[in-house]
Amino acid sequence: MPLTRINIGPVHPSTHGVCRLVVDLDGDTVVKVEPHCGFLHRGVEKLVENRMFMQCPPYMEKLDYVAPMSVDELYVSTVEKALGVEVKEPAAYARLILLELQRLASHLFWFGATCNDLGQMFTGFMWGFRDRDIVLKLLEEATGQRMFYVNMRLGGLVRELPPDFAEHALSTMEYLEKRIPAYRNLVEKNPIFNERMKGVGKLSRSDAIDLGVAGPVLRASGVPYDVRKDVPYYAYSALNFRAKSASEGDNFARYMVRMMEMQESIRLVKEALRKMPEGSAMGMPIKLIIPKAKNRIAMVSRENPRGEEMMYLVADPEKAYRLSIRAPTFINLAALNRMAEGCRMADLFAIFSTLDLVMADVDR
């Protein structure tokens, strides 16, 4: 039987941005998926070369707009490494708390979007977004903005955490702790969800390592690699943190890993709030003339909600000579073909959505 070639996108409600897929079908079975990206390319790496170090965080936040704080923090810590600036202990804890809250918001967004992609399970979308708004409210309290926070300065934060932040964060965490079993109860007994998730889109352990996928996609294939655990930064080594992984490598395993990570994040935030030392979390005031770069080359990697993101900076004294970004989403997108081989056409977007892609991060 001759193959059918179908074009999907670039504008499609389930592609989470602007991505074009060219799918070869044999009947209803996917033979090959070819992603075409680049519709959102705007040359961030080039723009950064013409700006001073601390003018750039707003550009970095737009890379991963579902979890802006994590990319912001990654860039600032790369610059910190180049300039040789130390992060004080209270600031490290405050950053950790904000990062984990951001991870929660991002995973809740993923939950909502995935429920929507699986054929109009709109209740899941509504639940996910309602609770994401609650976490965003908390972040807005701490930073003053709803989506793009620009809250990191060299050595700390722009402003102190508000005095009642700990209290609000604890009550929110307690609320979310009750919500996550409710989510699982909502979807895991749903036959549509199970059909689309269990045993679909398998990625074996060796394939996952060969393709270099990152984050929950990697951990769901049985590789318990988490930067927070293996190369701990900030206070992760001081906290009781376990990397979550599953072994099946299918859509359901990726869903489970994210659900477990949400629970782990809630626990981490609570523990960090308890152990947080007294003191100022303020960073250096923003000045365009900052200490000159000491190290010519700095490379930092962080466990972002979408996986291990890495920045490689070659520094001139006052600005970046070259900044290279290793985006986890770009590499996860490359694994789509391997995962979708042999699945049904209707399952393609279930697989696509469990990759949790942000196209702006792919295209840069």
Partner: protein
């Protein structure tokens, strides 16, 4: 072709023969009726159009996340008749351009705009769609969607809050006219 021509000529000849020398007047009653219905229908059509703006489900970049929040429970878009987002341009009235427009996206956006049925409106949502935003220096970005499409309302902010989209759509309703339900 020749047959059609002959048939038309035959019909004209028959018509002329049947009318003869009589003078034909326009049908006064029907003309007045149609004016009357127009006069009655226009406010009603406007009212319906204003209160059921269906946006296109079309997200480009960051602002699309706020666009999704617009449909989420905290800011419930359905209260005002901005119904469920349509995934096909043929069913949509409003195109909300949420995000930066790269040069490779221009043909796609133009094509979608052309697929939408008249009357159609465009909202430029966010800095990038308004003027290029932070990417104004970039080599692959056009500085605002208004260089390509006629924009009715701009919503500024980076990103604008979902409430700002509310405001923008209410401004659009005022612009379209008709009675607005508060």
């Amino acid at each position: 072709m020749a047959d059609n021509e002959n048939a038309r000529k035959e019909l004209e000849r028959l018509l002329a023969a049947s009318v003869g020398d009589r003078e034909i007047k326009p049908n006064v009653m029907f003309a007045k009726l149609s004016e009357l219905t127009k006069a009655f229908a226009k406010p009603m059509v406007d009212w319906a159009r204003v209160n059921s703006l269906w946006p296109l489900q079309f997200g480009l970049a960051c602002c699309a996340i706020e666009l999704m929040s617009f449909g989420s429970p905290r800011v419930d878009a359905e209260r005002k008749g901005y119904l469920l987002f349509r995934a096909t341009p043929r069913q949509a009235d409003v195109m909300i351009v949420a995000g930066w427009v790269t040069k490779s996206m221009i043909p796609e956006i133009k094509r979608m705009y052309e697929q939408m049925a008249e009357p159609k409106y465009v909202v430029a949502f966010g800095e990038c769609a308004t003027c290029g935003g932070p990417w104004w220096e970039s080599y692959n970005i056009i500085r605002g969607i208004d260089q390509v499409l006629p924009v009715d309302v701009y919503a500024v902010g980076c990103p604008p809050r979902p409430e700002d989209l509310y405001l923008a759509l209410m401004k659009l309703q005022k612009r379209i006219g008709g009675k607005i339900e508060d």
